[in-house]
Structures are given as C-alpha cells and as structure tokens.
C-alpha cells in the first residue's frame, strides 16, 4: 500500500535530529558570534576562514553520529535507513545548517569505497572521513577533460611498491583546503579513452603535489588546480583494480547525480524560504501577482522532487537500483535550484545587487547545470539510455 506517513520510530528520529540541530547550531553559532536564526551570518565553508569553522561543525556532527548516519556504526555512522537519511537532510536544511564541506568524501567517494575497497581500505579511510580528519576532494576534471572526462591525460607510472603521478587536475572543489584527493589517472600509457585508467586515492601533503586555489564566480576560493610531479603513492592507493578505474568512477558519478548529491530537503527548505521572502517583499499589484505564480510554481517543483525521491527510495528499499534515470534527477534539481533563486532575486529587486545570502546562493545555484556532468550531457544520457534514441 502507498503510505505517505512516517512511522513512530521515524518521527522520533526526526524529533531527535531537530532537537539536536537546534541546540548545537545555536551553540556553534554563539561560540563564534555568528548571530542566530535567519540572521545568522556564517562564512562560507569554501573560503579559507570559513573552512576551519565548518570543520568544527562537521566534528560536532560526527561526535553525535550524524555525519554519515547511514554508515555502519563501526565506521562512525548509526546504520540509518535511507528514509532516516532523507529525514535528517530535511531537518538539516530546514534548520539552516551549513552546506557540508565533507560532502564529496562522504557522498561521492564513500559509496565507491564501500563497493570496491578492500576491508583494509575501508577501515583506513572511512572512519577518518566521517570524523572530518581526512578531507577529500574529487580530481576528475583536467584542463582539457571536462565534459569529455575520458580525454584525461594525468599519468600514473608503475614503480616498485606504488605509482608515480604526473599531470594536472582542475576545478577541484575545496581542493585548497582538503587533505586528500580521489581521481582517475592513466595507468596504461598505450591506452585511449575509457580504458587503462586507474582510480587512485592521493594525499595532498606529499612530495610532488602542489595545490593552487582560485576563485569561483560567487567569490569563494572554492576551486583548486592540483599539479603532480613524480608524486608517489603506494599500491594500496588503488581503489578497485588497476586499469579498471572508469567503472569505479562511473559508480561514483552515478551517486553524485543520483540520490545522494542533492537531497530534496535542501530544495524544500529553499522553497519555504522563498515563500517567506514573497510574503515579506510582495506589495499589492500586478507585478507581484505575477511573481506569486512563479513562487507557487517553484514550491510545487521542490515538492515534486521530494515525491519523486520518495518513489526512488521506495524502489531502492525494495531491491531496485538507480540507473540512467539519475540524469532526470540531476536536470530537475539543478534547474529547480536556478528557478527558485532567480525568483528570489526578482523579488529582491534592487536589493539583489547586495552580496548577501540569497544572491550568494543564487550564484551557487547557477553552477548546478554545469557541475556533476553538464545538463547537456545529462540530456544526452536521458535521451539515449532512458528513451533509447540512437547515439549516432
């Protein structure tokens, strides 16, 4: 039967999460003089100043076992269900808690470590990741390999006991502040395209690794270039099999586009804040009535994303899998996020020139149709793999 209510246990879980978040967010903000509630001014975690502050918050999450709640307890989680994860995400964004600076490790790398890692790797990597001791950034893109990831040229050369890395990665989110990088390197020098790549786990503090941060559109030093010059990593830095990195990476990009990158809670919270903004900004008059229609439309789209996700989680819970449909997901949430923020900017009118929470978030939203596989690529995938149109 369809049942869109939460169980008593889930409601208790929600209450616990809500209570904890309220209390600890207040503590954290108070400790650093960040203000309270809607007026809280939290420096971005994608800046050097903000990152340390956010690490402290991440460690508070870890202490209470919220950081990676769906993981086994042995790795620092609480073996929560996907439903509990959804509930926590709703409460997290509803409370106005900050975006997770540990996200790329916990939501993108970890699923691959669970699937492809050795027990030794899992034990070595996951607890420190959950505890925000190791901070992971992704190293996919290169200057000439963006949408065309298979064109990458960074090399891993086999040497005794490990690999020597050479080449350059770029657009590495939070790379300037992280401790480790995961990414693909060409391990078979004669290989082309998707073949002969190896998925490697690389500390950023080693010899031969240079990281240069640079600024994103929204003003944060959120990107980095990472240069490798004969940087050594040992054999146990390989995730999965040598030369088989593409399939490991695709599993990760699947998670990225699919469920775990952007939970509905994030957009539900944005939509609710947009409705509040409308209430505050709207004057009577035709122009604002046209805005009202857009605000309602945005709210409905966020709600639809929540419902779509409930269906996906039901299917996963009952043994299904997420495949190419994750492209549908990515297109929807990224364009929803743009629409919600553009409506907010239009409501703000001339106040939208100010660099403040809504405008900063609007700029971040604009990256959504680009990162994690551009929406052009996603539309190709949806058309080819879901609808079966010819690849050409």
């Amino acid at each position: 039967m369809t049942n869109l209510t939460w169980s008593a246990g889930e409601e208790r879980f929600r209450a616990e999460a809500r209570g904890w978040l309220e209390e600890h967010l207040a503590t954290w903000r108070r400790r650093h003089g960040l203000g309270t509630g809607a007026d809280a001014q939290v420096p971005s975690g994608d800046t050097r100043e903000g990152f340390a502050l956010h690490l402290e918050w991440e460690r508070m999450l870890f202490e209470a076992r919220w950081a990676a709640l769906s993981w086994p307890e042995a790795y620092g989680g609480r073996a929560g269900s996907l439903w509990e994860w959804l509930i926590f995400e709703e409460e997290y964004y509803r409370a106005g808690a900050p975006p997770r600076v540990t996200q790329n490790g916990i939501f993108l790398l970890a699923p691959s470590v669970f699937e492809f890692g050795t027990p030794e790797q899992q034990q070595r990597i996951l607890p420190r990741m959950a505890a925000a001791e190791d901070l992971w950034c992704q190293g996919w893109s290169e200057p000439n390999a963006g949408s065309d990831l298979a064109a990458l040229t960074s090399r891993a050369t086999k040497v005794d006991g490990g690999w020597l890395l050479n080449g350059q990665k770029t657009w590495t989110t939070r790379g300037a502040f992280c401790t480790h990088l995961f990414g693909l390197f060409r391990s078979d020098p004669g290989s082309e395209r998707h073949k002969g790549l190896t998925y490697l786990l690389v500390p950023l503090d080693g010899d031969g690794v240079t990281v240069r941060g640079f600024g994103r559109l929204d003003g944060d030093e959120g990107f980095a270039e990472v240069f490798f010059t004969d940087a050594f990593v040992p054999d146990d830095a390989v995730l999965g099999k040598v030369d088989q990195g593409w399939s490991v990476a695709m599993a990760t990009t699947g998670s990225e586009r699919g469920l775990t990158l952007r939970s509905p809670g994030r957009f539900l919270a944005t939509a609710d804040r947009l409705v509040d903004l409308y209430r505050r900004c709207a004057h009577d008059g035709p122009a604002s009535a046209a805005m009202r229609d857009r605000v309602i439309e945005g709210w409905m789209r966020a709600e639809a994303y929540q419902l779509f996700t409930l269906g996906t989680v039901t299917a996963l819970t009952e043994g299904g899998a997420v495949g190419a449909e994750s492209s549908i997901n990515k297109i929807w949430w990224s364009e929803l996020d743009v629409a919600l923020h553009e409506a907010a900017v239009d409501l703000l009118g001339s106040a939208a020139v100010v660099d403040a929470a809504w405008t900063k978030a609007q700029q971040f939203a604009l990256a959504g149709p680009i990162y994690a596989g551009t929406n052009e690529i996603q539309r190709n995938i949806a058309a080819e793999r879901v609808l079966g149109l010819p690849r050409r």
Binding site: M1, T2, D293, V295, E303, N380, A383, L387, G388, L389
Partner: protein
C-alpha cells in the same frame, strides 16, 4: 513510508492496459470523430467505439468506485488513478473519469435519486454514461461528452448544489470542438430543481470536483506518455541527412525535456490520489498541484512531440493529433494550470 502501488493495483492497471491496447487503438479514437473530421456534435456511435465502453464494463472497471453493495468494487482514488492514466493513454473517447471517478462515488455517497436509467447499476453495467461540469464558475458551455451522455452533473452557482440533469433537462446543444472525439455540448437551459439535486453538502461537492481534476491529471499523464512513445518511435525510424533524426542533439534534448517533465508530474498525481484516498486535509492543494503539473507537462510533451515529428505530425492522417487534442481539452477543463496554481497558493496562505 511507501510510495508505490500494490501488486493488485499494478495488475489491474496491466489488465486495463492490454485490453485498451487491443480494443482502443488509434483507429477507434478516430472512429469517434464525426465523419467530416471537424468535431461537429452527436451522431450514431460507431460499434467499435461503443465496444470500448462495454469491455470496460466487462472487466469491472466501470464499477471500480461503486460500493460493493451496489455491485461495484468499492475502491478508492489510489485504485483508479492508474486506470485513468491508461484511459488517457488510449484516449478513450468516453466520459470515463466523469462517470467512473466522479459520478459513481458521488451518487453512492449522496444517496441521491439515481433512477431513470441513471442508476449505479447502470454505471457498473455500462449502460449509463455521465458528463460533468463541476469546475467552479463553469458556465455550462462546451461540456465534454454532454452531447451523448445519459446525464450531466452540473454545479448550480446560486445554491452551490450539484444536480444530475437528463439530456432533456440540460438544453443540450452540440458544439464543434478541437478534439472531435469528445462530443461536447453547450447546456443552454439547465433546469436544476429539488427533483434532480444530488447533494448540496459542500464537502461532497468539493470532493467530486477534486476527483474530476485528479482523474483529468491522471489522463494527462497517460496522454503525455503516449505522445512521447509515438515520438520516440518516429525519430528512431525517420532519417534525414543520412541519419535517424533522433540522433540529432536538438531532438534528444527536446525529448529529454519532455521525459523529465512527465516523470516529475507523475508522483504529484499519485500523491494527490493518496491524499484523496486517505482524506488528507491537504487534498485540495495536492489535487491542484497534480492538475497544474500534469497539464503543463502534457502540453510541453505535446509541443515537443509535434516539433520532433515535423510536418507529418501536423496531418490528421497521422495519429499524434488525436492524443494532442485530447491533452489540450483536458488541460483546459477541470481548471487550467494557472487556476490550480492559484488554489495551491491559497492553500499555502499566500
């Protein structure tokens, strides 16, 4: 929490789907159009068109929302929403939602006079079809199926009551419609009186309207899926510039957009069915969200389908227009998308 249908619901859906696939292909929808192809009113119903309704009766679909005591299956919105989607997919040229999802449960719960060939038994047995004009503010013009229905439910603006009028009481005048298969009529002389009132209870009146809007939304999903299927089939086969037109990125992106909007409207419709079935306080809001999203999705899918077909989609000899015009008709009735968004906003308090 579980957002999925039961095996039984899916099994019933599959049975209806395969029956309609056989009994209601495009030729039958086309046969429901007047001979001149312009949608001008009532005339004798072709046998193949009548047969669709009879087969729906045979497999029990028409009584899905009639109480078991009256010979039906006694099921609720979550049980018939997938069937309405299939009726939409096939563009069944009959007042399916109006009769099965609106009139039957309304007459049953109102305990209203349903004699004169308009009984619940007649609905279950397939001898009675009922049209409806229940959208708030409806002026009785161009009511789909009213030209050949056995009765028509109307909302009396002055009292707020719903009446069931026979064709003789409604002043039925056929009108030419864009979708020629819906046999619409203007109700030019609605004689509403105590003798034909069904209910004046606001809760029942609102519920009846919401069921109609939900049913329309479900049909729109089905129609959108059908248009997308037709288009995918066409662009894979059709070649221009030496390649299938479906290999052009512009075509891919049109159809990916269509897919995305369809897939995200679907859970909104299914949730509305749930809210209606469990009597949620959010029923009106959820139904309106469903109708708004389904209307917009079906129109977008239709526009993309037409564009990706090119000229052939613009002919009446090809089937696309049968589904496209039904989608337009359903998007325009039971409240437009803008009207429903406004209703969502009111429910949200803005």
């Amino acid at each position: 929490m579980r957002f999925a249908f039961t095996e039984d619901q899916l099994g019933f859906r599959d049975a209806v789907r395969s029956m309609l696939d056989k009994e209601c292909p495009a030729e039958v929808v086309r046969a429901a159009w007047p001979d001149d192809g312009t949608g001008a009113g009532a005339r004798a119903e072709p046998a193949a068109v009548a047969a669709v309704w009879a087969r729906l009766a045979d497999i029990g679909v028409l009584g899905v929302a009639v109480p078991e005591a009256a010979g039906g299956l006694g099921l609720a919105e979550l049980d018939w929403v997938l069937l309405a989607e299939e009726a939409g997919y096939a563009a069944v040229p009959h007042p399916f939602v109006e009769t099965v999802a609106v009139a039957a449960p309304l007459l049953a719960s109102a305990g209203a006079p349903t004699g004169g060939g308009r009984s619940l038994a007649g609905i279950v047995g397939g001898t009675v079809r009922i049209a409806a004009a229940l959208t708030p503010g409806h002026d009785g013009r161009a009511v789909p199926y009213a030209a050949r229905a056995d009765g028509v439910l109307v909302h009396a603006r002055s009292t707020g009551a719903v009446h069931l009028l026979g064709p003789d009481e409604a002043g039925v005048h056929s009108v030419r419609t864009v979708d020629g298969a819906i046999d619409a009529a203007d109700l030019t002389d609605r004689r509403c009186h105590d003798g034909n009132v069904v209910t004046a209870a606001p809760a029942l009146v609102d519920q009846a309207f919401d069921r109609g809007a939900l049913g329309a939304a479900a049909q729109l999903l089905g129609l959108a899926r059908h248009m997308l299927d037709l288009t995918v089939g066409y662009v894979v086969e059709r070649r221009q510039f030496g390649v299938p037109v479906g290999s052009f990125q512009a075509v891919k992106h049109h159809l990916a957009d269509a897919l995305v909007h369809l897939e995200l409207a679907r859970p909104a419709v299914h949730r509305a069915a749930y809210s209606a079935a469990v009597g949620s306080p959010n029923r009106a809001r959820d139904v309106s969200m469903a109708k708004a999203m389904a209307s917009d999705a079906a129109r977008l899918v239709g526009a993309k389908a037409l564009q990706c077909h090119g000229a052939i989609g613009y002919t009446v000899e090809y089937d696309l227009h049968l589904y496209l015009k039904r989608a337009w008709a359903l998007a325009a009735t039971w409240g437009t998308a803008a009207w429903h968004r406004d209703r969502v906003g009111r429910a949200m308090g803005i």
